[in-house]
């Protein structure tokens, strides 16, 4: 017998080689979403819904200018608003530690800055009051009683770098360059010089928005002078457990919880800022619980703003030989090289990243990734355009990973590590996608196909590797990882034979419960309804020491499924091991007479037994059976196992082999610039599907989100004060289903080429990030002109000389 049920010796740390013990639920359609009802009928508890007895409300001043300094603030009038308990001011004695390398946000927060760096930023004052209305009233007065000095600001990254541009933070920097990074692989200059062809490309991308539907909300309650408990609605709230003592050193012990999340993702520092404000406010109000609300979370940007320049060297067959990038942007994740290196064979890549100081707003990786895919896709689609080649052919020619082509990866990775060497993800994705969109009959040279209705027909294509392709695929620096509170998962079987998985997590609306439960149910042979999760999502629930290793973020399934898979296998071993043990019943609990009873399966070995539908049975004699509940009635006090995520050697999982490709067919009205989507085809390699509907939900959601970001979502700033003007869901146009007129067709393939359990590959923000660039290529194919992102009607008309 192996250590874990069904895992062969030596494969414990190669989860892609595991197989599910059964597949009654995994891969099946039509399972009822365990989280669906509460979210549909409104009973799901979101952060702002929650009221804590005795809690005060706090709100911070949000800067009314892009860059300004408070000259004076008179709090006397605001303090008279009924219900106001405390106004904490920027020039009060500082509290906490105000130092942190890098990003602005936490660097200034515990001391409340008097100078803001973007409109809407927390600064100046925190009002603590009995209720939200009193906070609002007091803040309204405070705005009137505050004198500001407006300071220079920049909303355009290229303008910020101009030689005559005002230096906006002269106390910190000599110019407006916040940071600069250079990476090089291979010998780019030599490769460019020897390339038969080169092309220079410039793309500009306007800012999009986080467009959150619920602003940040954090509760903090002091349990003791040095101990707090908090509840946050931020995806990465668990990080605050580690960071709080860094900034507020008197706090020695922190217990954190996550709410059902309604759209506060990414941007750790923004979420942390809100949390620290709550902690500070609670400290200064005699320890009463404080709910801090940050209404301007909508100000957080989506991370896709910048100018991207590239010099591309290529052969006549479309093979890219070298690329030299210069990226000027301020994204929270500006790692443009990851995407192209993970999914192409080009060895010679140089990247210079310049991060200019700007006053646009906090960058929020809520919607990040599009700029990373843009670098990759633009490289190959521009080459295809120059050579008048089909871009799908150019994609295949360049497919590879980390400087190796697919033939090398097949020989050295797939075959060596036990993957199915006959599978080729991009080829398979392309075959399905091209068929679904009708590519071979519809693709044409740019700008040549005008329809009877006067519109131009266009068809576009983007591709990338499918991140996250491995467990623990993370960008977090080591120092951060070391402070994370990730713990093991626990699994108990209660007295009624129900399986309970223990692990804190963040609920983000991705049908987590059913998907995770399917893995445990299939691994253990339990009915789906007999598997439950103990998450600590509400203040009514107590946090356990158990944690999912990935808190439902981008790596949720690849990491957590691997934890769950092995935990389920271990749990099945545990259950079967009790099936042959004598049952010693000491008390009269449950109406069972005390005494010594024989095992449920005397003289059997675990390998002679199996479990199906929560019933243990003898494989050779299926009529010999007993329920897991029968067993648990006696052994439940001992039925507990735990497991960590397998510590897989990263060297074994370096090369990305899963791919995605997406297609958009459009009509572009040359008289209005309107883009009508005739069809959108989404194809992903899932590696192995657990919940097809959850997966498809990610695909549909990503398709809509990407469509909006690609075609008309754009943050509009007032050029005089730098204030964001379209900061609600009326003026900032997020698309809904009716905005895509044609069908969205989603396909999934299962190549097993991922490094997670069962060969699984993540889906996360893949699709939104890719599709966010897609209209650029469809529109170019239609009108024969390159249009910067987003490809709004205004920009299309301007490209056509009509705007």
């Amino acid at each position: 017998m192996t250590t874990y049920y069904g895992i062969k010796d030596g494969e414990e740390y190669k989860p892609w080689l595991w197989s599910l013990s059964s597949a009654q639920y995994a891969g099946k359609h039509g399972l009822t979403r365990r989280d669906g009802l509460a979210k549909c009928n409104g009973t799901a508890v979101y952060a702002r819904d929650f009221q804590m007895a005795g809690a005060l409300c706090a709100k911070s001043m949000e800067a009314p200018y892009a860059h300004a300094k408070i000259l004076s603030m008179d709090t006397a009038r605001a303090a008279t608003v009924p219900g106001v308990r405390k106004i904490i001011k920027y020039d009060d004695p500082p509290i906490g530690v105000a130092s942190f390398d890098g990003q602005r946000y936490p660097g200034a927060l515990p001391t409340l800055p008097s100078e803001n760096w973007w409109a809407g930023e927390i600064c100046g004052a925190i009002v603590v009051a009995d209720n939200e209305m009193a906070c609002d009233e007091a803040l309204k007065i405070l705005y009137q009683d505050t004198e500001w000095e407006k300071l220079p600001f920049h909303l355009d990254c290229e303008r910020a770098l101009a030689s005559d541009a005002a230096v906006i933070y002269p106390d910190l920097l000599k110019n407006n360059i916040y940071d600069e990074e250079i990476e090089e692989y291979g010998d780019v200059d030599s490769a460019l010089q020897s390339s038969p062809n080169t092309i220079d490309v410039v793309i500009r991308q306007t800012a999009d928005s986080a467009a959150v539907v619920q602003g940040a909300c954090d509760f903090v309650k002091y349990l003791h002078d040095d101990e707090i408990e908090y509840w946050g609605n931020h995806e990465t709230h668990f990080l605050f457990t580690s960071y709080t003592p860094v900034f507020l050193p008197w706090i020695k012990r922190v217990t954190g919880h996550g709410f059902v999340n309604a759209g506060v993702f990414g941007h750790v520092w923004g979420g942390l800022a809100n949390h620290l404000m709550a902690a500070r406010a609670a400290k200064e109000t005699n320890g009463r619980p404080v709910k801090h609300l940050f209404d301007s979370a909508f100000y957080w940007l989506g991370d896709e703003v910048g100018t991207y320049k590239a010099t591309i060297g290529y052969k006549d067959n479309g093979e890219v030989t070298a690329v030299k990038y210069h990226h000027i942007n301020t994204g929270a994740l500006a790692d443009q090289l990851t995407q192209i290196r993970q999914s192409c064979k080009c060895e010679n890549i140089y990247s210079k990243k310049t991060f200019p100081c700007q006053n646009l707003g906090a960058y929020h990786c809520y919607r990040h990734g599009a700029n990373m895919v843009l670098t990759h896709v633009e490289t190959f689609n521009q080459v295809a355009n120059e050579l008048k080649m089909d871009p799908t052919q150019v994609a295949l020619i360049n497919d590879g990973s980390l400087g190796h082509d697919m033939a090398w990866i097949t020989e050295n990775i797939k075959k060596v590590q036990g993957f199915d060497a006959s599978r080729d993800s991009l080829k398979e994705c392309l075959a399905i996608g091209k068929e679904a969109i009708g590519w071979d009959t519809k693709w044409h040279q740019p700008g040549i196909k005008k329809l009877e209705n006067g519109s131009y027909h266009g068809i576009g294509f983007v591709w990338s590797h499918t991140w996250y392709h491995r467990p623990n695929d993370s960008n977090e620096p080591d120092d951060l990882k070391n402070r994370l509170p990730w713990g093991p998962l626990g699994l108990a079987v209660d007295a009624f034979g129900k399986v309970i998985v223990l692990g804190d997590n963040v609920e983000q609306g991705v049908n987590r419960d059913t998907t995770y439960a399917s893995i445990i149910a299939d691994e253990m042979g339990m009915k789906l309804e007999d598997v439950a999760f103990k998450f600590a999502n509400e203040p009514a629930e107590q946090r356990t020491p158990f944690d999912f290793h990935s808190h439902a973020d981008s790596r949720g399934m690849t990491t957590n499924s691997t934890m769950l898979g092995r935990l389920g296998k271990k749990a099945k071993d545990m259950v079967l091991s009790f099936a042959m043990q004598p049952r010693v019943i000491a008390g009269g609990w449950g109406g069972i007479t005390p005494g010594n009873y024989p095992p449920l399966f005397p003289n059997k070995q675990p390998e002679e037994l199996d479990i199906k539908d929560s019933v243990i049975y003898e494989i050779a004699n299926p009529a010999n059976q007993a329920t897991v509940a029968d067993l648990a009635a006696v052994f439940h006090t001992k039925m507990f196992v735990w497991d960590m995520v397998p510590d897989i050697d990263p060297e074994l999982q370096t090369f990305s082999m899963g791919r995605q490709c997406h297609f958009m067919e459009v009509e572009v009205d040359p008289e209005t610039g309107k883009v009508k989507v005739e069809k959108l085809v989404i194809v992903n390699d899932a590696g192995r599907l657990i919940s097809p509907e959850t997966y498809a939900g990610q695909q549909y959601g990503g398709a809509y989100m990407g469509f909006g970001r690609s075609t008309f979502e754009e943050v509009i700033f007032d050029p005089t004060d730098g204030v964001r003007l379209n900061d609600d869901l009326i003026s900032y146009p997020v698309p809904v289903m009716n905005d895509i007129e044609g069908p969205i067709v989603c396909h999934q393939i299962e190549t097993g080429l991922g490094y997670a359990a069962y060969g699984m590959i993540g889906v996360g923000e893949n699709i939104g990030a890719c599709v966010a660039n897609l209209s650029r290529y469809a529109v170019h194919n239609a009108i024969g002109k390159w249009v910067d992102l987003c490809t709004s009607p205004k920009k299309i008309l301007e490209a056509l000389g009509k705007g």
Binding site: K59, E62, P64, E132, M133, C135, D136, L139, K140, Y143, L293, D295, S296, E671, T672, G673, K674, F712, I716, F717, D718, P719, T720, V723, L725, N726, D727, D728, I730, S731, P733, P735, V736, M737, N738, D739, E741, S792, P793, K794, L797, E798, K802, G803
Partner: protein, 320 residues
């Protein structure tokens, strides 16, 4: 800042007289569907917050009706946009209005919003609508139009009125102008071309204690056809970038653009191009070109001139 409503008094008016009496009080505001008013209150966009909300939906007899009375279409001010969109009576002879109602907002809003509210709605200028009256602009009694020197991609292409380059955002307004409608108020009957104005902060000539009772639209002349078309970023819900209604045929040639000027813009030069002519592509194009002959682009809204021209040409063709 939050979207919480502050305290206010609320009265269900039982009659028009009672409503008008209540509205003469300082700080009183009428509410019908509330889809515009509640938004302004939640975001605190105006200088003053209403102290009294007068509910018109409780007025008897109800102002929620659609009738064809001797060829004149009469629509009560409280008639919902959704009912207008679905009305066979309206669609039969006044299809431009039916289409405009159908293309306004979203299904939920159409089931709440009324025709009276739609034609009286406040500006949608991004500066005007910025939360907590961040920009105390000319339309609120301030000194400056921030859009004029700032961001103006969605603003007027026919110049400013009273220093304001905002546009009227109503979808129904151009249809009513094209259809030659009149607005019956508690004080008078106003031809719709005189109904809209650049007031502070309102968009109509209504006095504070004056209410819209009814819309009256004459039957189009024999052979006339009407249409409404709209261009917006999203087809699902958005306010118009440009919209256009036309009534052409018989002895009629009325074309009205909206979202291009402070008030619905009667495109008379475009009308001149179609009067007495058989409609074809050339006439439509000439009409479109003529409609923007007097247009003056602001720094960021030249694209709207192209769209306005196209909307007029397409509206003309749709009346063929």
């Amino acid at each position: 800042m939050s979207n919480l409503l502050r305290e206010f008094n609320h009265v269900n008016a039982k009659s028009l007289d009672e409503a008008v009496g209540l509205l003469s009080e300082t700080g009183a505001q009428a509410i019908a569907g509330g889809t515009d008013l509640l938004g302004t209150m939640k975001l605190y966009i105006l200088r003053d917050y209403p102290r009294l909300i007068v509910n018109l939906k409780t007025i008897a007899p109800s102002l929620d009706y659609i009738t064809d009375q001797d060829g004149v279409l009469k629509i009560g001010a409280l008639t919902k946009l959704g009912d207008i969109a679905k009305s066979d009576v309206v669609n039969k002879k006044w299809s431009a209005l039916s289409q405009a109602a159908q293309k306004t907002a979203s299904p939920h809003i159409r089931e709440m919003g009324t025709i009276g509210g739609n034609i009286c709605q406040l500006p949608r200028c991004l500066y005007f609508r910025k939360k907590w009256n961040r920009f105390d602009c000319a339309r609120k009694g301030g000194n400056a139009c921030y859009a004029l020197s700032g961001e103006n991609r969605y603003h007027s292409i026919f110049g400013a009125v009273k220093s304001c380059v905002d546009v009227n955002p109503s979808d129904l307004a151009p249809a009513l102008v094209a259809l030659n409608a009149s607005v019956v108020t508690t004080k008078r009957t106003i031809h719709c071309e005189q109904f809209w104005d650049v007031a502070i902060p309102n968009t109509t000539v209504l006095a504070p204690d004056e209410l819209v009772k009814e819309i009256q639209i004459p039957a189009p002349s024999s052979g006339a056809k009407s249409t409404f078309i709209k261009f917006a970023l999203r087809s699902s819900i958005d306010f118009p970038i440009v919209n256009c209604a036309a009534l052409i045929g018989g002895d009629a040639a009325r074309i009205c653009l909206n979202a291009v000027y402070n008030k619905p813009y009667r495109a008379t030069k475009a009308e001149d191009q179609v009067k007495g002519k058989a409609i074809d592509d050339t006439v439509a194009e000439l009409s479109g070109n003529a409609s923007v002959q007097d247009a003056i682009a602001l720094p960021f809204n030249k694209w709207k001139i192209q769209i306005a021209k196209t909307m007029v040409a397409r509206a003309v063709l749709a009346c063929k």
